[in-house]
């Protein structure tokens, strides 16, 4: 019963915002629904973890199925949605004060963001690969109007790039899905309905025609890879992340990224069963390492801190995909761990960037200095988030990156491991230079401490506590989910 509730609640909340006129009720509704959703998702995660390996929950006659991997993505999405909804309250109040937006514009956010989240929650639950595709395409449609939220010339440019590049990508993914489905129809020879179900396809994937599966995986990887922002299909990402309002950008960067990677993971399982690990592994490592290496110089010379976050996200998508490509138990484990740790770390970076942008009124590094004198809490958390996201010990991303590196060495790919380390180190240096200059430098002439909004601080504190705790200790149910997910990926 829990599964449909997760999807329906946000839709209802979004529609209710159409019916009420007061901003306070939108805010309450939004935060309330996402708190409830987070609790439901947490219960779901605990339940699935208790079922142990191979545990599954189903609803609506198997239409929705949640195994460990889906449960993990659901919990992460619900967490990101919750902290974003809390941050959004403070962020948009400030925007209203500064007259950047009107209240009727704000209603669009409170209508669209829940629909966006709802589609993000449907994608990992759907057992049918076609329905998963529909859910991911729906997220595009809901989020494009969030990217154009500020109605600026630049936001339309970003929105147009996002939807056109995304739609081309997603059409390729649909083509790949159709081809996989046709293999399923041939082998299963059953009624059309069953042959698109992932759980049915995995049992027969070894009988697929390898030539067909090769084309299908290539199309799917290009398609969902575009949505995940893997290089060279990443060009929409910096624009979209920089132009969207910060809570929406955080939903895209920390929430939606997982959905796209999740889709690639599911298809990778089918492909490995059909072709063995060699074929998909080469492609995944290729795209992954290329993304990491492409992001590195852009991080180093970046002049806009909102776009910096997009390049960091391209880098992390690359790490996840490359880890998946390294294969074996370690590779799968690294991919899953990285997905989880990245999703809980990234929102803090977005939130701090949003605070700085609202205070200084510019996204450019050169006009922002000495944040610590003006917004001390934001500056401290910004530096912490930068350390965490670049994989500095003791933060958790260090563990997943280290695991990925071990997987590369175990798979006997020393050159790839070297490139991986090179990319990660360059990005670490780039981040550190930018963050040190921006946060710690001498303050502006009149460095008066500005008040920090309690809503924003609350959301940032929640994320910071989770980041620090996960660095020291992984709760047993979470670890169980991660292990079972790695097992599903074939490790």
């Amino acid at each position: 019963m829990l599964l449909p509730v997760l999807i329906i609640l946000p839709v209802l909340a979004g529609l209710c915002c159409l019916g009420t006129a007061s901003r306070r009720s939108w805010e309450r509704l939004n935060v309330g629904v996402f708190s409830l959703n987070a609790v439901v998702a947490l219960c779901l995660g605990l339940n699935v973890a208790n079922l142990g390996e191979g545990g599954k929950m189903a609803a609506l006659g198997g239409f929705l199925q949640v195994d460990a991997l889906s449960a993990l993505v659901l919990v992460l999405t619900a967490f990101v949605a919750l902290v974003c909804s809390i941050y959004a309250v403070g962020y948009f109040r400030r925007d209203l004060e500064q007259n950047r937006i009107t209240e009727s514009q704000l209603r669009h956010y409170y209508l669209l963001a829940p629909l966006f989240v709802s589609a993000m929650l449907l994608a990992p639950m759907a057992d049918n690969l076609g329905v998963m595709w529909v859910a991911i395409e729906t997220t595009t449609l809901a989020s494009v109007l969030l990217i154009t939220f500020y109605n600026q010339k630049t936001s339309f440019e970003a929105g147009w790039k996002y939807i056109i590049i995304g739609s081309v990508g997603i059409s390729l993914a649909l083509f790949g899905t159709v081809i996989t489905y046709s293999s399923g129809v041939r082998v299963l020879n059953a009624e059309a309905g069953g042959s698109m179900s992932w759980s049915a396809l995995t049992t027969v994937a070894h009988q697929f025609d390898p030539r067909v599966m090769r084309l299908a995986f290539l199309l799917v990887l290009l398609g969902y890879g575009t949505k995940a922002g893997l290089a060279p299909m990443h060009t929409w990402k910096p624009d979209a992340y920089a132009e969207a309002p910060v809570p929406a950008a955080a939903l895209l960067g920390a929430g939606f990224l997982n959905c796209a990677i999740y889709a690639i993971m599911r298809f990778n399982v089918l492909t490995e069963k059909c072709l063995g690990p060699e074929f998909s592994s080469r492609l995944l490592i290729g795209f992954g390492i290329f993304s990491i290496l492409l992001a590195a110089p852009f991080v180093l010379v970046q002049r806009n801190y909102r776009r910096l976050l997009a390049y960091s996200s391209i880098d992390h998508a690359g790490i996840m995909v490359a880890a998946l490509g390294f294969g074996g138990h370690l590779g799968a484990l690294a991919a899953i761990l990285h997905m989880a740790f990245h999703a809980v770390t990234k929102p803090l970076l977005f939130f701090c960037a949003g605070n700085v942008q609202q205070q200084f009124g510019t996204p450019h590094f050169r006009k922002v200095q000495g944040v610590i004198h003006v917004l001390p809490w934001t500056a401290v958390l910004f530096v912490l988030a930068a350390f965490a996201v670049t994989g500095t010990p003791p933060f958790s991303i260090f563990q997943s990156e280290f695991t990925a590196l071990s997987a590369a060495l175990e798979a006997n790919r020393p050159w790839v491991a070297g490139l991986f380390v090179l990319g990660v180190v360059v990005i670490f240096i780039g981040f550190l230079l930018h963050m040190a200059k921006m946060n710690l430098g001498a303050g502006p002439d009149k460095s008066i401490r500005a008040p920090e909004c309690p809503w924003k601080l609350a959301s940032m504190a929640i994320v910071a506590v989770v980041i620090i705790c996960l660095g020291l200790w992984i709760p047993a149910p979470l670890y169980q989910l991660v292990l079972s997910s790695a097992r599903i990926l074939g490790g």
Partner: protein
Amino acid sequence: MPHPSSTELATSQWITLLAAGMLVVQMLMVVQRMLLTNIRLFAIQSLLLTGIAAIIASFYHAPEVFLVALLTLLGKVVFLPRLLSRLVRRIGIHQEIEPMLNSTASMFLCGALTLLGYIVARPFTSFARLGNNTLGIAITLLLIGLFLMFNRRKAITQVLALLTIENGVMLAAIALSSYGMPLVVELGVFFDVVVGVMVLGILVYRIRESFASMDVGKLTTLKG
């Protein structure tokens, strides 16, 4: 492999004929620069797709494929072309500017893409099932759609290119699996395409308002 019956053979030929028609229409779109004519060409292409779905539905006695045919007819032949034509009239830009490649070069390239489409489709082509030989055309539609998108700069033409790519995928779904996709997926895809074009329409209108143009080549502020 069982020998195909004569009705099966005839049906298969009809499907191939209609699919070839879709390809011809696609090539006409590549050389056509009037936006309204391009929209009409897209409607014709969708009508041919509807025909294929209807033939398959009646051959296999599959009522849900009839529903898909009906949806295609209503959505892609009637509703979306009307929506797009209204948008073109409201914006008041009727002609595409000079594309990057001229028509002769474009035609040659389309010929090469068709060849490529058939080469990619070769391993999948078998005559055991109805309409399986149309996969080459489906892949070609996809490739030419991508080319159309790179070659043209008006926002509306890019939307049309996207829609023809989608037609290609739908053709592949019918060609490869003979029944088309499960109904729930077809409905979802249909819904997404219609809503997607509406969202794109809003964006085109807003871009036109704030840039005084719908030339996508002018969207170049964001860099790095």
